[in-house]
């Protein structure tokens, strides 16, 4: 394979990894805990801005052609850690507004409005993160450190993305297979019954929002270090629906479903159409992407609402010999096949 093709494919793999992390974060919030987080892209954007401001040098170092706060020039992995932390912290005010008191459609509307407000705010504040133009020249970790070719640097970044994916997998899988995950699924089904059993549903929802937000923030940090630029146009509210579509297509409540959704929707549809032979007026293919994504979402909600990999039933096996009352025989956390 020519190095150009390899460069392209490794780039796709990096974007896939970044999207997988984000979608696992959304799955914790929406798939597991049932929060209609239509402000999801704000969590990713917060992480991206955090990583950018932590990694950039002060604005004066670039001749002050952009204006922003911070510019701490911190080394790897601090910008990524900061991105995850900020993604989690942003969940607190958003949770207080939209999760404590609101449910269902109202929650979704409030989230969507929060997302619009956040974009408007970032555009209007020119001194904060360079207003509508956004930030540029964000350095990649280890850039130039090993004197590698562009393709070599790409492989290094892919390795870093894989490590972050492994961390995200470990967190998301740990939660979904634990009693905490079971409680989050219970909150999704009936909040009143959860509180009647002595658990605080608000605290549980908040936990899911914060951890999912941290994963979203981490994905944003990786994304900004990969693409080296970030502005309000990178995180308009339709991006949230890209993640939701991926989760609906792949399947909620399980990590394989989220990963498959990431492969099919953000990579398959959005990136896959990027190199189609152009037709029509410029920008037509990009617009058609959104039409296709919307149609895919509708088709799945209509014909296969649980996605390609539905959430699997957690089956616990007991011996059926009545003589051994109550004794679990070969109890395991094994999950049975999809019904």
């Amino acid at each position: 394979m020519s190095s150009g093709v390899l460069y392209y494919l490794s780039g796709l793999a990096i974007l896939l990894g970044i999207n997988v992390i984000a979608i696992w974060g959304l799955d914790l919030q929406f798939g597991l805990a049932g929060i209609n987080n239509f402000a999801f892209v704000v969590f990713q954007a917060s992480g991206a801005y955090a990583a950018a401001l932590l990694a950039l040098k002060p604005a004066s170092a670039y001749g002050s052609f952009e204006t922003y706060i911070g510019g701490w020039n911190l080394p790897f992995p601090l910008p990524l850690v900061g991105a995850a932390a900020v993604g989690g912290l942003v969940a607190v005010p958003i949770g207080l507004v939209a999760v404590r008191r609101l449910r269902g459609d109202y929650q979704a509307m409030a989230m969507l409005v929060l997302s619009l407000i956040a974009t408007g705010f970032a555009e209007a504040q020119t001194g904060l993160v360079n207003g509508p133009t956004g930030l540029a020249l964000i350095p990649r970790p280890f850039a130039g450190a090993f004197h590698l070719s562009p393709l070599g640097e790409q492989w290094v970044f892919l390795g870093l993305t894989a490590v972050c994916c492994a961390v995200a997998w470990w967190v998301a899988r740990g939660i979904s297979r634990s009693p905490l995950g079971r409680l989050l699924r219970a909150v999704r089904d009936s909040e009143s019954a959860v509180s009647a059993l002595g658990r605080d549903p608000q605290a549980l929802r908040m936990t899911a929002l914060v951890v999912g937000g941290a994963l979203a923030g981490l994905s944003g940090g990786l994304l900004v270090e990969y693409v080296n630029a970030w502005g309000p146009a990178s995180w308009l509210y339709p991006e949230t629906f890209l993640f939701f579509t991926a989760l609906v297509v792949g399947g909620r409540g399980n990590l394989a479903g989220g990963a498959l959704g990431a492969l099919l929707v953000p990579i398959g549809i959005v990136e896959g159409t990027r190199y189609l032979p152009s037709f029509g007026y410029p920008g037509l293919i990009d617009s058609l992407d959104w039409v296709v994504i919307g149609l895919v979402m509708l088709v799945f909600l209509w014909f296969r609402p649980l996605g390609l990999f539905p959430e699997r039933k957690r089956v616990v096996r007991f011996g059926d010999a009545p003589a051994r009352r109550g004794a679990p025989v070969a109890m395991s956390a094994r999950r049975a096949e999809t019904p």
Partner: protein, 274 residues
């Protein structure tokens, strides 16, 4: 999770005094929704070890009283004391942690959890429900989890539902869902159950089997306050019975006494002694 823990009262430790003493004291409870005075003066006591009935015509305020006691609705006046502790206006989850666990008038199971998982959500002690335990310290809850699953399975056998352990709770019949709710509440080792029409919409033979189980539980020391419309069941299970009408408590006593009480007959029983 809230730091203001309410001391838990279970059947094992007994701060509420000897069996037969007052466990739940409801005093002058009132609430209105807009201009509607749903409950204007509810005062009664549930003694430990009893199944106390709560009856009354539609709109009498029975379910509202359950909601007020369980913390779902905040009272505008009055007090709720459980095992000597004032729980007035506390949130539902704190009241449940104190040992007062409710079920719902409309079957309220976790539909997309299996029956066994439904029971495990109710289970105490709680292990692996904190983030750090869930991710880092799996060994801290794996053992307890297996033990709780065994306890849940034993309970399912007792209620004759062990064959449904791995079915989604949403796929069960209405009566089976009610059983799941009662079992789930029992997994929490409550001191007292608040049962809001546990037999509503259940076929008569299953209702009898639920009644048998409730009697067994009472004999094991679980106190219950039960809203029920089916008076034959109330007569069989409940002593004493509290009668409510138009938001206030009208009378309290055994069914036999109530059937001779003129106010009760006028308000509710219709005078024919049914």
């Amino acid at each position: 999770m809230s730091a203001r823990a309410v001391p838990a009262a279970t059947a094992r430790d007994d701060p509420g005094g000897a069996a037969g003493g007052p466990l739940l004291e409801v005093e002058g409870l009132a609430v209105h929704f807009g201009g509607v005075q749903a409950v204007s003066d509810a005062t009664f006591t549930v003694r430990s070890g009893t199944i106390t009935g709560l009856i009354g015509p539609n709109g009498a305020g029975k379910s509202t009283v359950i909601n007020l006691v369980s913390g779902r609705t905040r009272p505008s006046r009055g007090a709720v004391r459980f095992a000597g502790v004032d729980l007035t206006g506390r949130p539902t989850h704190e009241i449940a942690r104190a040992g007062l666990v409710r079920t719902f008038q409309h079957a309220n199971v976790f539909a997309r959890l299996t029956v066994l998982e439904n029971l495990l959500v109710g289970a105490s002690p709680w292990r692996g429900e904190r983030l750090v335990q869930a991710i880092w310290r799996k060994s801290s809850w794996r053992g307890a989890e297996a033990e709780l699953a065994g306890r849940a399975y034993a309970l399912l056998q007792r209620f004759g539902l062990e064959g449904l352990a791995n079915e989604y709770a949403g796929a069960l019949s209405g009566g089976q869902k009610r059983l799941v709710e009662v079992m789930r509440a029992l997994m929490a080792s409550p001191r007292m159950l608040l049962l809001d029409e546990p037999m509503a919409g259940v076929n008569p033979s299953l209702a009898m089997s639920i009644a048998d189980r409730l009697e067994e539980l009472r004999d094991e020391g679980v106190t219950m306050l039960m809203v029920e419309h089916e008076l034959r069941l109330v007569e069989r299970l409940c002593d004493p019975v509290v009668v409510m009408a138009r938001g206030r408590v009208l009378a309290e006593g055994s069914m036999e006494e109530l059937q001779r009480n003129k106010d009760v007959l006028d308000a509710y029983l219709g005078g024919d002694g049914a």
